[in-house]
Symmetry: C2
Subunit: 228 residues, 2 copies
């Protein structure tokens, strides 16, 4: 069956619009998005862009899903390639800082920016960014709990608190670096994360043979809907 050329072009156009939309939103916020502006930026007809998204709110929600895919590609999927345990927890910290530091989005972490923008504004856009934030918090907590379950973090460690602290350090690195420039915030966040994870590590790891088998891995990241 021949590929439908209009469909291919429609998908490519949609993708180009969402790439531009997420870049703009990471700097100017989701309120800064407008169908007219994106159409002008990309030299498309306004009616064509409107036909693909239908409303500004649908465009905002599509941008959040698209950014979630990019977040998953850069942070959560590479983390899940590492064996569960303290190594995966360290990989998660590094993948997350790297994603912010490399400016995958020109304004730094898309979800930090849009989370702050919509934190106190009720509606579907708020709910979508809040859900992405929650999914990422849960992912960090689950990664830490796995490491605890196999004995690589001490049993007395409060993994919710550890996850909150790692999350706080990553967010602060992103925020400070974007606001003030420079790489010092990443150095400080890496040092803090190393101290937190190192301080929580078991001093004597069980011999390999006694590590429980069949510990369930963190569930796959729900790529298209979540990030943080």
């Amino acid at each position: 069956m021949p590929v439908d050329g209009r469909l291919v072009r429609g998908e490519a156009t949609r993708r180009a619009i969402l790439e531009r939309a997420t870049d703009v939103a990471s700097v100017e916020g989701l309120e800064g998005l407008s169908i007219g502006r994106l159409a002008a930026d990309l030299e498309l007809s306004k009616s064509g862009v409107f036909a693909l998204f239908g409303s500004k709110e649908e465009l905002q929600l599509a941008a959040i899903r698209f950014a979630g895919d990019i977040f998953a590609d850069n942070v959560t999927r590479p983390t899940l390639e590492v064996e569960p345990g303290i190594g995966r927890l360290r990989a998660l910290c590094e993948n997350w800082l790297g994603y912010s530091e490399r400016r995958i989005f020109p304004g730094g972490c898309f979800f930090f920016h849009t989370g702050a923008e919509f934190d106190a504004r009720p509606g579907r856009v708020h709910d979508a960014v809040a859900e992405a934030g929650t999914a990422f918090s849960v992912f960090i907590t689950r990664t830490a709990r796995e490491a605890q379950d196999i004995g690589e973090l001490r049993a007395d460690i409060d993994v919710s608190l550890l996850a909150f602290e790692l999350h706080a350090l990553g967010q602060a690195a992103n925020a400070d670096s974007v606001l003030h420039g420079g790489i010092e915030p990443y150095r400080l966040a890496r040092a803090g994360m190393r101290n937190r994870v190192g301080g929580a590590a078991s001093t004597s790891r069980p011999p390999m043979a006694s590590v429980p088998q069949g510990v369930p891995a963190a569930r796959r990241w729900p790529g298209s809907a979540s990030a943080g």
Copy 2:
């Protein structure tokens, strides 16, 4: 000399506008401010509001200064009433979390919200929010260093890292609580701050007589221009 009634009314009007402006900006951002909207909200003439501020950018900058005064009243001034040392550092953490938790601004910390909004947008508004953020970081670091200088924090503690971690925890508590609701983020931030400060405390404090006299207090917070 009689008080000039027009001047008094002008100051009261200016204050009412800035109270409304900072409340709006903490929820919708500084871009959400417009002279027309504030005039309508407060039933003032647009030309009257314009006469007081001159431009949207001047209004944004005035709102940042006004919010800085409120931040100083709630966070930095009460902290400076406590003797320098670990007690002052703990008071700083608690005053800051309390300011966020009590929702002095309806959208949580004014400077968190506007910092994220303008982080990647060059200009005078960016510079003003970045300066406020820097001033607060410096204040935290100086408070920690004082505690170290008088022997209440261990000499091997990196006070820049400690300040970064405390700052990160407070920002995360504000962000998570505003985005998701609830008080759990404040509980986690308090636990994290307690661990960080407690972990940095000297195990044996010098006897009172040997505490150096005349250690300079942190300089007074420059009330009208800074916060974070």
